[in-house]
């Protein structure tokens, strides 16, 4: 008498499988992979270094995308991740190169700074009800300014200009070399390991901790969540705090890879991070998405870029093609009613 639930038994196995966002994300990745097999850049795609380098290059973006995913699940957005990366790179280089800080003090200091700035964004958004777009846009500009202020607009590197105009040269700090190195006979970059660690932390938060459930509920229906006793303000501050924290980690990696702290580093990285989350299938409207999707999103965007570069597509062509492919991937993943 009462209709139970929509009848799924009549649908085919494939279409039932396609209901899951993960299947669609994998499909998008497979499509890119097949394109890579066809346009293999004279066989370069069949060789391991292509994949290894892609992973290394996209680890920093992947770390940013972890934080971005957490924020997007709450139906928010964080535009400040690129600037925060730059700020963190500058501060980390300054502390380790100029001030000779012990890296095990400098790393927590940078991460704490990122988390605090993220908490500020989160507070503006949840406590003072500023739209996430605006609040994090302001933070983006502010953090970039702070990075330039701290660095005096110069790259913080091992060659340090003295007051009399002469240079003194310092050795690269050991921590830079360590983060920039590879393990397993040079097959796995340390930054990739850090990316995997960030994925794991995000997975813990989103899937295993109570706060993760709160984040999904807020993104799905903030009012219903509030009336169910969900601490909306705290949870949102936590989300932006985590996003700032991951941005700081990404900044440390970036500094180590470049052996300097560039106050201009990370410009427009926020857009790549958003693209990764969205291509993975995390919904910008909030409430849906997962960190696994973001992993697939990172690989999809990373392979896309790699395939275009091994085929020597010009930068102009790469940008245009990336735009087209982002739209196609999102259309492919659209939830079917």
């Amino acid at each position: 008498m009462i209709p139970l639930v929509s009848n799924t038994s009549q649908k085919t196995f494939i279409s039932r499988l396609m209901q899951y966002p993960v299947t669609r994300a994998i499909l998008a990745l497979i499509v890119i992979f097949v394109i890579g097999l066809v346009f293999n850049g004279g066989g370069a795609f069949f060789k391991w270094p292509a994949h290894r380098d892609m992973l290394r290059q996209y680890s920093v973006f992947g770390i940013l995308a972890c934080g971005m995913t957490i924020v997007i699940i709450t139906a928010g957005i964080d535009l400040s991740v690129g600037s925060m990366l730059g700020l963190s790179a500058v501060v980390f280089s300054l502390l380790t190169i100029h001030r000779d800080w012990n890296p095990w003090h400098a790393i927590p200091a940078c991460i704490a700074m990122g988390a605090i700035l993220g908490v500020v964004s989160g507070g503006l958004i949840s406590r003072f009800r500023i739209q996430p777009f605006i609040a994090t846009l302001a933070m983006m500009v502010f953090a970039r300014g702070l990075a330039k202020f701290i660095s005096g607009g110069m790259k913080i590197s091992t060659s340090i200009q003295q007051a009399d105009g002469s240079y003194i040269y310092k050795n690269d700090p050991a921590i830079f070399k360590m983060i920039d190195s590879r393990i397993l006979d040079g097959n796995l970059a340390v930054v990739t390991l850090i990316f995997i660690f960030c994925l794991f932390i995000s997975w813990l938060i989103l899937s295993r901790l109570r706060i993760g459930r709160y984040l999904y509920a807020i993104g799905g229906n903030e009012e219903a969540a509030r009336l169910s006793g969900v601490p909306v303000i705290k949870a949102k501050i936590f989300a932006y705090g985590m996003c700032g924290l991951f941005s700081a980690i990404a900044g440390i990696c970036q500094a180590a890879q470049e052996y300097q702290g560039d106050p201009e580093a990370g410009v427009s990285y926020e857009l790549t991070a958003i693209a990764i989350a969205v291509i993975g299938g995390t919904n910008l409207m909030g409430g849906r998405g997962s960190i696994l999707l973001t992993l697939f999103g990172t690989l999809t965007i990373g392979y896309l870029d790699k395939i275009l570069s091994i085929n020597a597509v010009s930068e102009a062509g790469r940008l245009m093609l990336t735009g087209v492919i982002i739209v196609s991937a999102v259309l492919l993943q659209r939830r079917r009613k």
Partner: protein
Amino acid sequence: MHNISKRFGGTAALEGVSIELYPGEAHILAGENGAGKSTLIKILCGVYSEYAGRIVLENRPVKFSSPQDAARHGIAAIHQELSLIPAMSVSDNIFLGREKMKKNGTVDFSAQTIASQKILKRLGIDGVDVHRPVEEYPISIMQMIEIAKALSMNSRIIIMDEPTSALTEPEVNKLFETISALKLQGHAIIYITHKMEEIYKIGDRITVLRDGRFVAAAPIADMARNALIRNMVGRELNEQIQRRSKVCAEELFRVENLDIADPQGNRNLVNDVSFSARKGEILGIAGLQGSGASELLNGIFGAYGPVSKGSVFLNGNPFVVRSPGRSIEQGLALLTNDRKTTGLVLGMSIVENITLASLPQYSPVCWMRNSMEQKAALRYKQELNIKADELSREVSSLSGGNQQKVALAKWVGTKPLVLLLDEPTRGIDVASKHEIYELMNRWTAAGCAIILITSEMPELIALSDRIIVMHRGRISARLEGDRITQENILHAAMGQEREVA
């Protein structure tokens, strides 16, 4: 309108309703919640274009395909939620979508300004600068601007749905003056209200609906208050709903002199309300639209933050009204009246919705214990007879009745002492309704107190041990035992002081 019928799926919202409207009259449309007033209005102003029966306008049969179509024929509706765009100027709002154009294709702002000023003057409104954005004016002026918009379309029929619910006393008087002026100018007005005094102050004739059927129509002078109430009530009482558990003598929950301000803090939604509920009791709150009953429950629950005045006691201890989270900790639960927008997270699974309000139980030290959660959800699924093949299914895929049970399961899962239920049976099938009645019996037998709001009078009467009736944010009657009758409730709900013989 002749013989109008409208069905939604299997249920008839209107059956053979007719209404006649003459120029220069204010026609009251009366009936309880769910009597079919809104449906009738929506047909008249073109929102529903599928219906049986016919509409005759000035001796010509018409059928409106859309609200725009109805507007072209001179029918305008002013709903409770105003349809103005806050940031746009008064004159731009009046001419929205029908801008006066110059020959060169640009908007003729000066013509619009002059025309809007003329209309506002006709309505007798001074001091409104038509260039200022609408949001700068109080709600009463906004309503006048809506009326001005209707007049600018040469509307001959103006429908007003509860226009006074947000107005203060002087503003109401001003509105009535305007309505009188409109009547003199030959406009016909359909006026929906739940306030007895307004009916007799402004109305010329009245049509009463009940359960989607036409009951009576008469000049206002020919229908005395008691006759009107008699016409409105008379819905069949449902013998199948049974109240079985016994009420204890022990008081569980008490509210004293409570005021609840609206979240913007402009005015009080609820004024000086006091009541108490005993263990195992179902306390019904009756009230027509705009009575403040729903706001009362939301306010007690802390949905609007701390209350401005008054105190609440639970189990003899002071109860802190601060936030929903705090209320849940103290043993209060609120089932909101709209499960889709405020009750459930539709994109989340059944399990996740059931445990949302009681997550700390399943995550000691912040760490989710999924098997514990699954087990609990399964238990509630069985206890409430939620029909779903898998608990991991999104709640949006469930039927209304099952969604409602998920929402109830969420609240029962918090182990509340007092359950506030706002329209627990709205929009669900009959079988689920009866299951929910049964659950309410079971919970009260276990010592819970339930405070119930429902717009279905037979349901309220059958389930409640006592009933308080609200009107304009105040308690207008407290009924017990034999005094619980549809007539008494309706009298009080419409703001009618009446001594019971």
